[in-house]
Symmetry: C2
């Protein structure tokens, strides 16, 4: 149900089409969804049906009609209520940990290269987050407070990725330096 409110949130910024929203989500490193058409278009139809968004069709020449959705008063209320809901705890789901958990099956060299791969992957993601943070594109900053909040979100992401990187490097170092940890 949450992708519905992500979409509604963007509509609260400005009227948009499904295509617009898809691009925003696809361009973003920090938005976790892969922006599937299926979900976005369904969400829009759904929001329209339940009266949270209005639809206007703009005819175009040489391109398909644009279905432009805008949020209604009822939609703003619904978004407010969702925002007020008890937040879920931060996720603890990291598939790499499950790989690590059974990595005792690997040789020292294999573990080394696995950790190095992870370090590279995290480093690349971190870089992309920093780039996106500097651009601050595709993000509404209507008031000083909204600006502050969005900045706080980016800071959080970047801090977590930095922590992850430090952690991975430390683990990697300790594994290569500590003789006791060579394969059994």
């Amino acid at each position: 149900m949450s992708i519905k409110y992500v979409v509604l949130g963007y509509l609260s910024w400005k009227p948009m089409t499904g295509y617009d929203i898809k691009k925003i989500i696809a361009d973003s490193e920090i938005l976790p969804w892969s922006a599937s058409n299926n979900q976005i278009y369904h969400a829009l139809v759904d929001l329209n049906k339940s009266g949270l968004a209005e639809k206007k069709i703009e005819n175009q020449v040489g391109a398909p009609d644009r279905h432009v959705y805008s949020i209604t008063q009822k939609g703003v209320e619904a978004l407010r209520e969702w925002v007020l809901k008890e937040p879920p705890p931060p996720p603890t789901k990291n598939a790499f940990f499950h790989q690590l958990m059974w990595s005792d099956l690997l040789s020292q060299q294999e573990m080394d290269s696995s950790m190095e791969t992870y370090i590279n992957i995290v480093g690349e993601k971190l870089f992309l987050i920093e780039v996106e943070r500097e651009k601050q594109i595709n993000i509404p900053q209507r008031t000083a407070r909204e600006k502050f909040l969005l900045d706080a979100i980016y800071k959080n992401w970047s801090a977590h990725f930095n922590l992850e990187l430090d952690w991975a490097r430390t683990v990697h170092q300790e594994l290569t330096r500590n003789r006791k940890l060579t394969d059994a």
Copy 2:
């Protein structure tokens, strides 16, 4: 497909029934799955069918038979291959950020209480992770290296939750202290 390897991983530790695995996952704060019967029992049947696990039925009196699964050589190979696979990047999915992102709709007081709720939720989770870490229950520690790896995983989790807590407290403070950030 990943729950299958989580299950296979536990079987690599020692022979178990679906019920045993379910308990382990349910008892753990750090394992992200909710340990649904559906998935676990299906995974076991699946692993058995594809020759990665063997099944023995232990008859019992006064309780249902135990279907005890143990990993096969082929299973160990498959687990090794999975562990060697390129790790996915750490997750960036935190629903609270989406709530924060549109929190400009809220009054100062509402935002305050929302942040406080989040701080409490993160704090509680952190506490549970620390407890689980101290108990170190339900976790295989066969070799010094495996012990080291599992400890590294717990350290990581605890560090991320501490970071999240600090971040939330800072944001909360700044929101209450900075006059510019009162509602528009």
